[in-house]
Symmetry: C2
Subunit: 251 residues, 2 copies
Amino acid sequence: MQETDFVSGFARGLKVIEAFGETTPRLAIADVAKATGLDRATARRCLLTLAELGYADYDGKFFVLTPKILRLGHAYLSATPLPHIVQPFLDKLAEEVHQSASASVLDGTEVVYIARASQKRVMSINLMPGSRLPAYCASMGRVLLAAMPDSESLALLKQSNLRPFTPRTLTDPVRLMEEFARVREQGFAVIDQELELGLCSIAVPLENDRGRVVAAINIGAPAASVPAVEMAERYLEPLKGVARLLKSLLR
Amino acid sequence: MQETDFVSGFARGLKVIEAFGETTPRLAIADVAKATGLDRATARRCLLTLAELGYADYDGKFFVLTPKILRLGHAYLSATPLPHIVQPFLDKLAEEVHQSASASVLDGTEVVYIARASQKRVMSINLMPGSRLPAYCASMGRVLLAAMPDSESLALLKQSNLRPFTPRTLTDPVRLMEEFARVREQGFAVIDQELELGLCSIAVPLENDRGRVVAAINIGAPAASVPAVEMAERYLEPLKGVARLLKSLLR
DNA sequence: GACCTTTGTTCATATATCGCACATATTGTG
DNA sequence: CACAATATGTGCGATATATGAACAAAGGTC
């Protein structure tokens, strides 16, 4: 396969980086080969390249990523205006409502956090810029999926691994599509402990100056202190307010 | 130059990603070639590879990184236990003292933020995990540099571009080394508007269970509300408290 | 609109990389 | 302690990639 406009060595290397994850911080050569499907020799060369460049440490047995690897993601976070613009609004919002506020965009079937202002922790999951959640059961994911044509959101649902994180998680594509329609209609999404028991969240879309939905922002709260039914009456207006202010700033 | 254990295509690709930065979010092929020193043809192939894999968008003229690129940095943040362990402590700390709290590690001459809990914004700079600041004039940087042998910290200073961000910025290596000695002695560092006018911060080292300094945490505050001399009396104990709690949790 | 400059694309060839197979090292186990 | 099992290192031929120059296209200037 001789694709003249494709550097497969580069693609393989990126695969190697992605092999490192939450549950696999330290990987030996063979582990990486298995995880990526690359030949051991190839995995080894990529890992040694990473080590040589300072993106990974190697103790002769295991490879561990170094903070230098953050430069790569940072290239996006600092290069993209959205996180910068949104962050101060989130900070203010979080402080006002005394709950965590976040912003995210869609990447395939997942929402990716691009900015976050956290108040006291309510989730077991630790979210930060770059963190990912399945879109179908996250409030911002619902909003973002609802913003696209049905054909596209349905296609993404089909690619998603629809599994119940809690007994309340919606996993039926038909009911999810109905939910998207309602979210689109009402202009916000509320998630009641579908991702994690004890956690509610509400999200609204962020439109740019031309009316295109470019991101979503949300507020998360412990179900114990804020019942799902109260989410909208407490937080919808603050969220909408931020969305309104941001509309003219985004393109 | 035939290095058999080095994938130069991969290294070149990483260079291309790093070409994107704060001031250069949208790059044409020639821009990237100039920024990386690669041949235009090579830069083009790397960029097209990125686009093909979904890490970048291409409109026929400019390339822009997509959020998918965050997977790379996220591989570190989620794979490394430190950010996860520290985050909840920062959240609590920030809430208690009503100021932003952050944690960082050293990467060369820079401190890299690995976790952050922000209260209302005081800096013009927008910090988030992955953000970088020059170590020599940041409170966490001072603490981390002070923790290493003089020969190493001096070497890093020599590599640093020591420039005065404000009239108060220390840039003389000799005085900086003296400052490191004092920081090491007293166990914390205070920065009084050396990075940005109006901003003070105080940092303490985080030791692991074997006494090795693995990171630093800090609190930043507006100079107007918290004069530099008050930083220590207000925030040193809370910071030390967190460091103590974390000591047994880190390795 | 003709000129010049910059940028993007294509192509042939020299060179580097891939993946295989084999050699070696390490780890675990009875 | 020896054996098996698993993991890592290495040389080589086939194959993919980088290079740089030549060409094409776009953009800017007068």
